[in-house]
Symmetry: D2
Subunit: 391 residues, 4 copies
């Protein structure tokens, strides 16, 4: 496409994307390999540009080196993006690529190109936030319904129950080039205290008004397009929603999540903590599910290990083991309180023995906590969690 004019390129890009859509998974993998190899920079150019830079490393010699090194694949993808509706197609193309990479990891360099471009294209500055409610177009609501995986919805009535009452809010980010496709969305309940269980939020009767709410609970955050993996929106969305809610409802004082703990059961079973193995086995037996006394007996142990899990369990690189914890603590939130049992749905039992946790977004603390977390891995804890740790 290099030789042809801008507008002609647009037509060629359209045809190329249409042709791509006809390929099966195997052909797509072949296509990806072809692009990876066929649109590589010329090693001779790179070597020459490097030699010049090496002789005199300066801003002036860097420009030609950068130009020599930048993969022509990126230019190709930018040109494909001129076709009408191309952006969403390219996002979905990368989802195909991620799937193909599971079989053929050597495609990763092409993924790096996608990731690099998408970070530019889906820059926060280009996103717009929108409230989602019962007057949102049905086509968007249907997407929301399908994309909700944290606490899946059972249909339109369930969606309406979460969207429509006065004490509920949905917000989503949209990008102008991907139209009515939500990129990420968050579900919020407005309450009068910090909830410990998800079921009442999903099913209980609502209050008629939101004015007396003191607490905004972020109880589900969903990324939607697999092809945007690694492009981070969540932090911006939470911050923006906090700002909008604070402006709309001055009585709101507390901004908190009610979050799953998807890595808890696996960590417990791993026996990494010496006291975990027995508890893991007991929880697996499941007697506590139907026996209130048994649950009451286990509760202090679960809380204690949960507290250790969130504050002590780390990956090799020192990050929190729990992926949701990584996200919220990285945003500057504090681990506020462990809640057990907080979610009795099948998935939550399997992944976390029903454990949930609140992360607190305290606007005045976010920045300092975030910095401490980034600098030396310090995890901010709330009073309830600290009390458990101190037991």
């Amino acid at each position: 496409m290099g030789r042809i004019g801008d507008a002609a390129r647009m037509a060629v890009a359209e045809q190329a994307l249409a042709a791509y859509a006809e390929l099966d998974a195997g052909q797509k993998a072949g296509f990806f390999a072809q692009i990876r190899d066929g649109f590589s920079p010329d090693p001779a150019h790179i070597r020459a540009a490097f030699a010049a830079y090496d002789a005199d490393p300066s801003a002036g010699t860097l420009v030609p080196l950068f130009n020599a090194v930048e993969p022509p694949r990126q230019t190709l993808l930018r040109r494909l993006n001129t076709a009408p509706g191309a952006t969403l197609k390219l996002v979905n193309m990368r989802a195909d690529l991620l799937a193909a990479m599971r079989k053929d990891p050597s495609l990763a360099p092409l993924d790096a190109d996608f990731a690099h471009l998408f970070a530019s294209w889906f820059n926060r500055g280009f996103l717009r936030i929108e409230r989602i409610d019962w007057s949102t177009p049905a086509a968007v609501l249907e997407k929301i319904m399908n994309y909700e995986t944290v606490h899946p919805m059972k249909g339109w009535e369930d969606l309406r129950r979460r969207l429509d009452p006065a004490d509920r809010r949905f917000y989503a980010f949209f990008h102008p080039a991907t139209g009515n496709e939500p990129l990420i969305f968050v579900e919020v309940a407005l309450t009068r205290d910090i909830p410990a269980e998800i079921a009442p939020i999903l099913t209980a009767p609502r209050r008629a008004a939101a004015d007396d709410a003191t607490t905004a609970v972020f109880y589900s955050i969903n990324n939607t397009l697999e092809g945007l993996k690694g492009v981070s929106f969540g932090n911006f969305l939470i911050k923006q929603v906090v700002a909008e809610l604070a402006a709309e409802l001055p009585a709101l004082k507390t901004f908190v999540t009610l979050s799953p703990a998807p890595g808890f059961a696996a960590w417990l079973a791993s026996g990494e903590d010496p006291q975990a193995a027995d508890l893991s086995a007991e929880l697996d037996l499941g007697a506590w599910l139907n026996d209130r006394d048994e649950a009451a007996r286990l509760k202090p142990q679960v809380e204690a290990l949960a507290a250790r899990y969130f504050t002590g369990a780390r990956t090799k690189s020192g990050a929190p083991r729990d992926p949701v914890a990584r996200f919220h603590l990285g945003n500057g939130a504090a681990a506020w309180r462990v809640n057990w049992p907080g979610d009795l749905s099948d998935g939550a039992i399997r992944r976390a023995h029903g454990l949930m946790i609140n992360y607190l977004y305290e606007p005045a603390e976010i920045e300092a906590q975030h910095e401490a977390f980034v600098r030396d891995g310090t995890i901010a804890t709330g009073a309830p969690l600290a009390a458990v740790l101190a037991r």
Copy 2:
């Protein structure tokens, strides 16, 4: 900004842009030099990544090399772009940079970073076309009025004369992140023949309807934001407007420009063409301006030299000398007819002795003409121009 979280970055970006706005020109130049030098990649990293690539030049070793070579300046600019309204501010920052470069060309590497990012951000896929008319918000119309430099407007009445009649059209590209700022716009007159003079188009009474028009005349194309220099929109805009007009008014058969020839007077004066010097002097005298006979006498010579100018005068790299010609011929248009005198405004007299030219956009020929132009510099000529050349 590297260590801090996404949302905190947004606040820092906002403060940084606010602080930048307070700087004077000298301080801005200092700021640019600081960024150019302070956000450079580490030569040691580059050398190490190059060594690995050099040993095994592959897609896999290219990724780390690319990451090492990519100037942190680009990451910085992307982060600044997370602030509300940042995109336009960054575009204007680059306009400042271009001004500073005139004094200090060593700032060019930073400009390369801006150019690289803007090519991505202002991708055609993100632009939307809009018709501009008398129901457009006044704030946008005012910008249009100020940005029109090809045939400047004298005020609101003049604007209205160009916008509002049934046989006139304005179209502009907008980008979602720069709001109501037109990036480029084109002015169109719907006529029944190919015009040779600009004055009647700017001032003559209009026809009541557009249905019987056979010809769409693109008589003014204006880029607006200096900071977007080098990001090309014009070709896309013309193609899109041709498509929209053809769909709206099936009677339209001819799509043509009425364009200035801004380099003609200088070329003539340069004496590059042996017959030019005398003519240049005669035209400079200006007797023809008030003497119809004199003008008639000069006309054949002007036309002959104009034809040679458009088809023969080249830059060192072989491109047409005339910048407007480069644009339209590069888009695949044909040089249709030279018109003298076509524009008696001061600027047009000074730059082109009043010469104008029509470029013809013939949809069926555009692609082939564009390719021939790119491949070997072939300039497509229309019958009237060919006739002059053959005289």
Copy 3:
């Protein structure tokens, strides 16, 4: 409310409507009686104005008579309508009134006031047509779903099946003062022939495109707000939809309904036609529902009587007995073809033994047929129906 200022009235109107909303059915009936009597014109004024008119019946003496006769109730309703959101509340108030009138017919004069005002307020000139599709706000779609009574919907999936395919259309009228409340809507299927049965339209797979459709089938028309009884929208809506579809899809040549015959079973049972009684009894037995041969045997008789029903059965005032026939024939449509069995749903069996009919809207004939119908009750018939009559 007469003595107070405009803006104060607005607040009083708001309070009055809020107070009304708290009343139970009995209190509402009392309120209606009170208004009917308390806001009556003064007989003395009327007599005086009449005397002046009677002495000199002219445009000049009519004005005071009109003013004396116009019930202050209308002024009251106009003033109530200044409150925010009042229009829909007044429409619903009239629905309450209609319910109350079933017990107390003496409230009819108040209903005449509502009807008079609504005819003015809901003038065609104030309505806007909108296409309803899958990008319509869910809140509107939910209303549509609830208001559909001709062929009720089973839920969101059913709604989507009717709205979303390329060969389906919904259109509705909205009034600016009643917001997102559809006043009437029509459901259209785009087909390649005139359908005789409703089931395939409601359930069969759809064609991917609408471009090759030759026939637009109006298969369901629903008025929504009971309080707008007697304010006619249907004729305007059909005409407007015909115009929009003809403009969008030039291949459409036939505009036809597939309509119920809600009065057929009752008419047949009435024995008004000497041959009807036996057929009515046989159809009631219902053996034909499961016995194809039996149905085939009865078919000619049903068709013959149906043809007589649509062309001969009249009310005392000479109008067609069938209410749906009155509507479409009054609009200038022709009774095209009787279809039996066309609808095997319970309601259609009960009211019409499953009979359906197509009314043809032939743009070139509509006016003449309408006039003939209004002038002397002439019913236009299509060839298929004429053939049945001629058997």
Copy 4:
């Protein structure tokens, strides 16, 4: 049009309005007379309906009498209103009628029909308020510019000066059936005290922000369409704007006008007040216009007579003589302060010797003041005016 169907009527209405548009003033007058006479109710019907009513004056016998008396002209106008864009055409038709009535007052009964319908169609419940600013479509701004007659604008720059600064507001009412045609608009300046002169408001530099304003000054209210004469919007608009401003800018405490006194010069000249004749003559001489001392000398006398004018000068029916005073006092405002000289424009000198007045809208007092004004003509006065009266 009575016999034809709804949709056919729409076409006939369209033709009728198009035909009307071709008539000259004389033909229009003829047309009006024809309608007045040709669409009159039947006296025999009226007499019969009256006889029934007279025998038993009840809600039941009133309905047929009302139907007999209602001029068929109103039905005709309602039917014309079904044509696309008809509402504005009918408003303009009434403007023609008002012009024709100046020559032929016998057309008044037809005007009563227009007035009656427009009161219904342009009910407050159907209007929407919109803020007018620099992002408003130019077509609307141009209308605003042309309709401003209280303090005429000199062009776009003048308009911008009134619209665009942070401490200025424009609001207008629109009706859905008349599209982008403003029906009435008000111009507001946000200040820190109650202004006594108009010139600084129209020309002085603006403050950058509106947050510190304590006072909203309504300094120009314009009705736009002559055909809507007698349909009152102003009161509603002021009240709505007060509500919107109070919500947006909580620091606003004072809502006040700066208004002309269009009847002052004539009243002074009339000599109705024994001390007025001399002052009127002196003011007419105009020496005070260029002589500061002379103005200072006259000021107490002007203020004293102005105070008497606003509180004492009445029409035969007891209403305030000044038409602007009638409007604001009728709305419940108080006559706050007389300002002399407040407006040195030609018109203001001619009509009011440059006098202006502030009317104060004190939300807590409006209702009581309005009632007292309506009940017994009591005029609420502010402290400054009271002080002048007490001198």
